[in-house]
Symmetry: none
Subunit: 137 residues, 2 copies
DNA sequence: CAGTATCCTTCATGATACTG
DNA sequence: CAGTATCATGAAGGATACTG
């Protein structure tokens, strides 16, 4: 190893990183779940009894763009977490709802969201103290 | 305000801290928590009894760069979720551990991480089916 | 209504090098 | 050991316009 060139070390690092990704699909899944829009979409669907329409979700989740909403819903549909039902009326009607798999997840994500809501004050206090101490130095 | 009932005050607090609302501080906090590195750092600290050193964390979390590890730890320290202890020896020793607040959160994030580990197979199957159906069209 | 397509900007991340 | 500093780049995300 001591005779490795920098290029060889870089190559080995790259391969090791790729291997890590390949052998650990769980990390990719965790990265998907660790997404603000995913949390909000799943929480919105969990909070609402029955299916929600595309525009309902857009209205409920203030600040989400059409692009991100569609993108997030597609990813969640692909992962089997939400179901999508198209009613070919005029105009078209599309409903989204959590699947069985999605419901097994939603409680966990909702808990994180509610933790954020419940502990916002404590975090704000901690930030103020940190900023004070940091500025003092 | 003096005529507000406790229920009304709670309701107002709930609305004010609704994570679904844009520009709500809770929304920003949720975005912070919805971070792959945050999940992994908190999970690593939660899994390990007692404090962990910077290099321990770097080794445990494969694929994290120094920059992201430091950045994540600083943010978590600022938010009062992890504590940082410097021992001015030579060489310097720095230990990180979850605070009380951090422990109240860690269980939730660990649950999400374990959900990802437990349901990876189902998600993989769902993806295959989705890709099949999509390609068929 | 429920998207798609495109452009464009900023921001997050990684690689690299340096330090008390 | 535990960082900090700097740079480069790709990708995330928003704005806008269009469509079946």
């Amino acid at each position: 190893m001591a005779t490795m060139t920098a290029a060889q070390r870089r190559e080995q690092a790259r391969v090791a990183y790729d291997a890590f990704l390949r052998d650990c699909p769980t990390n990719q899944l965790l990265a998907r779940l660790s997404d603000k829009w995913v949390s909000l979409v799943v929480a919105a669907l969990a909070a609402h009894d029955g299916p929600m329409r595309y525009s309902d979700l857009g209205r409920r989740i203030a600040g989400v763009s059409q692009k991100m909403l569609t993108q997030t819903l597609r990813a969640l549909e692909r992962d089997g977490i939400v179901g999508r039902t198209v009613t070919p009326s005029v105009p078209v009607r599309v409903d989204y709802e959590l699947t069985e798999l999605g419901r097994s997840l939603s409680g966990l994500l909702v808990a994180v969201k509610e933790w954020a809501e419940a502990h916002m004050d404590e975090v704000a206090v901690a930030r103020d103290r940190y900023d004070q101490e940091t500025a003092a130095v």
